[in-house]
């Protein structure tokens, strides 16, 4: 099992969720984050003070999936979250050793 963790633009969330549902992903967890990268931020001015704001609002999605699905999940996210403009985000994949569904105690594949 893996967790696919993706940082995407906030307004792409619904689309990505739909794409994942379409390929059989039943659950995911979403976090509001701020990203720093090549995408340039903006300047805010409050009276005399100017602030260069370099952290931009992003959405982090975490999806736990069986090994078989990983490739398709990555592809689905890449395809739907892409606008082609700087700041579209990243996908990272890492292994998990165990998954548990708290309600039932089921583990691993059954837990997802």
């Amino acid at each position: 099992m893996k967790i696919v963790m993706a940082i995407i633009k906030p307004f792409k969330l619904e689309e990505v969720r739909d794409a994942l549902t379409a390929i059989g992903v039943h659950g995911l967890t979403v976090t509001e984050v701020k990203g720093y990268g090549r995408q340039k931020g903006h300047t805010e001015i409050y009276r005399g003070a100017e602030y260069a704001v370099s952290f931009l609002p992003k959405i982090k999605i975490e999806v736990a999936v069986g090994n078989d699905l990983v490739e398709r999940v990555v592809e689905a996210i890449t395809a739907t979250a892409r606008t082609g403009q700087i700041g579209d985000g990243k996908i990272f994949v890492f292994a998990i050793e165990k998954a548990v569904r708290i309600r039932t105690g089921e583990t691993d594949a059954d837990a997802l």
């Binding site: 307004f11 619904e14 903006h42 300047t43 805010e44 001015i45 409050y46």
Partner: protein, 452 residues
């Protein structure tokens, strides 16, 4: 404010007699309203009330309307809503004293059916000695207080339009549009309705506190604007939940409180007539809030706060032309009708037609204003508890109300359309789609409403 529309040109005395038989009777012999001496002097009670009424209408605009609208926007546009409302108020305040008051409240010579002149531009000739007439013979108020009171109406009316345009209109375009719209739509309509030589004034339609000039006028301009601008990106697809119904709630409450200045202040005197306008502004509002709440509860299954608040505003709008003219029971009925009809308009009708009048200015102010205007013609009937007008006949009166509505709709509709197009050519109406996605707060103002 527009009791004056009751008066027919050329029969002022008669109309005054009718009025005296109505709302204003209690005061006619008041010891502080001396039987019309050569130069009448203001009563301090009236002046105190009109000072208060003026500041209440400002309170409606800032922060009332800005919070009502802003809370309904997404948080990335909150600051832009507040900026647009504030700038509108400021700009109208300035052009009002420069030429607006003059265009609205002086004789316009051959054009006087439609607009005044520049004879009081820069408030020429106004001093602490000059006075304005009220609706009671021999009772005057200081002209400065009348100018202030009317100024606040000129400030809030274009601010109402903003609700139809939010989340996509350029700040600079809005400011230019407001200046043009104030000059070519608002001042003329105010003149037509409120100045004794104006076209709608002479028509004899009833409009106690500005249902036509303010609400129908702004509601139509917002609808036209929403159509010209087009829908917001993602409209109908993305979540566009109000970012803070807490702010919308505060705004609504402030609107209600301030509206007593708007409606009861339009009586121009601190009399039982003002108290009648006040009680109607209580009960019609409560009726409309209850009406929307109940109908939504029945139709959608849940009683919503936003529904109740929308009903409250619809009731306030509907009772505006009627405030000092109908009885409290008529006002309740008017309110309930407004609450229910506006509900269907903002839900079923708007969704069916598919335009993006973002914060329902047309659905609430336009439709509510029309209901109020027609309803005033009905509920002013003494048989229905109203104060009556001279030679009242329901059919005839409703017809006059209808004509006034049509004139306002056409003038505002056509005028606003032309002005939007002009601004589009000169500046461009809409921000880029990147800016719209990012939110107008950062994109246009370089600030954010919240950094929590």
């Amino acid at each position: 404010m527009t009791f004056r529309t009751v008066l027919r040109a050329g029969s002022t005395g008669l109309a005054l007699a009718a009025l005296c038989a109505g709302a204003a009777l209690a005061q006619t012999a008041a010891p502080e309203a001396p039987a019309a001496a050569a130069a009448a002097l203001p009563n301090k009670g009236d002046t105190a009330w009109m000072l208060v009424s003026s500041l209440l209408v400002l309170f409606m605009t800032l922060p009332g309307l800005a919070l009502f609208y802003g809370g309904l926007a997404r948080s990335k546009n909150m600051l832009s809503v507040m900026s647009q409302i504030t700038a509108t108020a400021i700009v109208m305040c300035l052009i009002w004293v420069v030429y607006g008051y003059s265009l609205a409240f002086t004789s316009g010579g051959s054009l006087t059916s439609f607009v005044g002149s520049f004879s009081k531009a820069f408030l020429a000739g106004v001093s602490t000695d000059s006075t304005s007439d009220t609706f009671t013979k021999g009772v005057v108020i200081p002209e400065y207080v009348f100018i202030c009171f009317q100024m606040t109406f000129a400030m809030i009316t274009p601010a109402l339009i903003v609700g139809g345009l939010v989340e996509r209109m350029k700040f600079s375009a809005l400011v230019l549009f407001v200046v043009l719209w104030g000059s070519f739509v608002y001042f003329p309509i105010a003149h037509m309705v409120w100045f004794s030589e104006g076209y709608l004034f002479t028509l004899g339609a009833l409009d106690f506190a500005g249902g036509t000039v303010v609400h129908i006028n702004a509601g139509i301009a917002a609808l036209v604007g929403a159509l010209v601008l087009g829908k917001r990106i993602g409209y109908g697809k993305e979540l566009m939940t109000p970012h803070s119904l807490t702010m919308t709630f505060i705004g609504t409450a402030v609107l209600w409180v301030g509206w007593f200045g708007f409606n009861a202040g339009s009586n121009l005197e601190a009399t039982a007539g003002a108290a009648l306008a006040m009680i109607n502004t209580f009960v019609a509002t409560a009726g409309a809030g209850a009406g929307w709440l109940v109908i939504e509860w029945v139709v959608k299954g849940k009683p919503s706060l936003l529904g109740m608040l929308s009903g409250i505003v619809a009731g306030l709008v509907a009772v505006t032309p009627a405030a000092g003219l109908v009885g409290p029971m008529g006002a309740i009925v008017l309110g309930i009708v407004a609450g229910i009809v506006c509900f269907f308009f903002c839900t079923t009708v708007k969704n069916a037609l598919g335009y993006d009048d973002s914060l329902d200015v047309f659905g609430v102010h336009g439709i509510g204003g029309i209901i109020g205007s027609i309803g005033t013609g009905i509920f002013v009937a003494p048989a229905l508890g109203g104060v009556g007008v001279a030679d009242y006949a329901m059919g005839a009166q409703v017809w006059k109300q209808f004509v006034a509505v049509v004139v306002a709709v056409l003038w505002s509709g056509v005028g606003s359309f032309i002005l939007y197009k002009i601004v589009d050519v000169v500046i461009g109406l809409r921000v880029t789609s990147d800016q719209e996605r990012e939110g107008l707060d950062i994109a246009e103002h370089g600030e954010r409403a919240y950094n929590i």
